[in-house]
């Protein structure tokens, strides 16, 4: 029997957990990049290697954005927490698959969050029926809620103004799809326009938002 006790076999079998000296992300994050996308990419790379501190820091940086978006789409507090948990465990699990060639870390994270949230409402909605959609629209929900919520930060203000700059149809398509989690077919039905129109309005609307917000990717 040869379970290594001290130096012997144990050294060869030791998995070295010590990462190269961990540098706090802020220290490397020039003020010029307040969005910290480089920092997020670096954190993701550490998370991919199982670094728990990096995972904690990543969470601190994006948890509010993820939870806020998920809550907006899912609209049920307990389910929003569940979906947020799914999102972060998924990020932990698949961090090594993040491909910077396909977009920024922030985009990747938010896309993952949005997809999970949409999956959750779609599976719930397959049970419920269409007439319910009309009811929801009558509550005047998505856009008004967004408009209400967007007052604190400059970023919210910018997004709100950018949404205001869209045509009504573009804005309704974008808001119903992104915050409402609806497919283009559902939106077509809600707005009483052909679904081909919804697709092009979604694209036109997002392109306009992109230009208005000065997004580069």
């Amino acid at each position: 029997m040869t379970i290594g006790t001290e130096q012997g076999t144990s050294v060869a079998l030791t998995w070295t957990r010590r990462e190269p000296p961990h540098r706090p992300a802020q220290a490397q994050d020039p003020a010029a990049r307040p969005a910290g996308d480089d920092a997020l990419e670096r954190l993701l790379a550490l998370v991919a290697r199982g670094d728990e501190r990096a995972f904690a820091e990543l969470y601190q940086r994006v948890a509010a954005a993820v939870f806020g978006l998920v809550s907006k789409v899912v609209r049920n507090p307990a389910q929003s927490e569940e979906v947020t948990q799914e999102v972060f465990v998924e990020l932990w699990r698949t961090a090594a698959r993040f491909d910077p060639g396909r977009g920024t870390a922030r985009s990747w994270i938010m896309t993952c969050a949005h997809r999970r949230a949409v999956d959750r409402v779609r599976s719930a909605e397959r049970a419920a029926r269409r007439d319910d959609l009309v009811g929801r629209r009558d509550q005047g929900r998505p856009y008004d809620e967004v408009a209400e919520q967007v007052e604190t930060t400059l970023e919210r203000e910018r997004v709100r103004r950018s949404l205001d700059a869209l045509t009504d149809l573009q804005r309704e398509a974008v808001v119903l799809a992104y915050y409402g989690g609806h497919t283009h077919r559902e939106i077509a039905e809600l707005l009483g326009v052909p679904s081909g129109t919804v697709k092009t309005r979604l694209r036109d609307g997002l392109i306009r938002l992109r230009d208005h917000l000065g997004v580069d990717a």
Partner: protein, 249 residues
């Protein structure tokens, strides 16, 4: 046809396509750099819309996420993916199915060890000791000072030990562990300067998943090892460990 597809970038970035449409569009994306670039930009745009809805999650959510992450196996990187795409301009269809070499090697090693030890017939033993309560396991996994130690890659890559020094306890977590041979059982050991002490028998659940509180206190200055023993376990290890995790690292 493809002129039509080009207009789907917005609906795709907003997740407004049906599953079939999405799959068709993703195939198109592989062959259309212009659309791929536009999707990148529109996804960065929707990310801004998402961030505008930010609101802080309840504080205890992090503990739950952390506890689940600690027992979740991470995917290895897809090696050479970007290379291959650059060279051939197509996606690597095999990537998703390929077994990571490390995992394959680990599995082969484990099988080899088990087939040798399986030759030795043991006494019929008693049933496995009952696992400690899930509460204790959860307490260790969610402890603020919990640290995770992985088994040496090339040994058996998917075993992990989570230790809370504050609580003085540790949890052994494995995934993809083959069932122990008939009449045999896995046994855990906590090894310190004075040698190994038994830390419990391992019951392998579906898909080789194991979450087992180690018997007895753990200070964090030990190694954890797992051997194959006869049913009922042994007082001293009688075979080479199939897993060794060093908690001092």
């Amino acid at each position: 046809m493809s002129a039509d597809l080009h207009t789907l970038t917005g609906a795709y970035a907003a997740h407004a396509l049906s599953d079939t449409e999405r799959q068709a569009f993703e195939r198109h994306l592989e062959a259309c750099p212009a659309c791929a670039q536009e999707v990148r930009e529109l996804e960065a745009t929707t990310a801004r819309l998402g961030a505008a809805a930010a609101s802080p999650p309840p504080p205890e959510l992090w503990d739950r996420i952390r506890a689940e992450a600690l027992v979740t196996r991470q995917l290895p990187p897809v090696v050479g993916r970007a290379e291959r795409r650059r060279r051939t301009g197509r996606r690597g269809t095999a990537a998703g199915r390929r077994v990571p070499p490390l995992l394959a090697a680990a599995a082969a090693l484990l099988v080899a060890v088990l087939s040798v030890t399986a030759l030795n017939l043991g006494l019929l033993g008693r049933a496995d000791r009952a696992d400690r309560t899930a509460d204790l396991v959860a307490a260790v996994l969610a402890a603020p000072d919990a640290r995770r130690f992985a088994a040496q890659p090339g040994g058996t890559g998917q075993a992990t030990v989570v230790v809370s020094r504050q609580r003085g306890r540790a949890v052994f977590v494995a995934d993809g562990l083959p069932p122990a041979p008939a009449d045999r059982t896995y046994e855990l050991w906590v090894v310190n300067r004075s040698g190994p002490r038994p830390a419990g028998l391992v019951k392998v659940a579906g898909e080789g998943r194991v979450t087992r509180l180690l018997d007895g206190p753990v200070t964090g200055n030990e190694q954890v090892a797992m051997t194959v023993e006869r049913q009922g376990g042994a007082a001293r290890p009688t075979s080479e460990p199939v897993v060794v995790v060093d908690l001092k690292a």
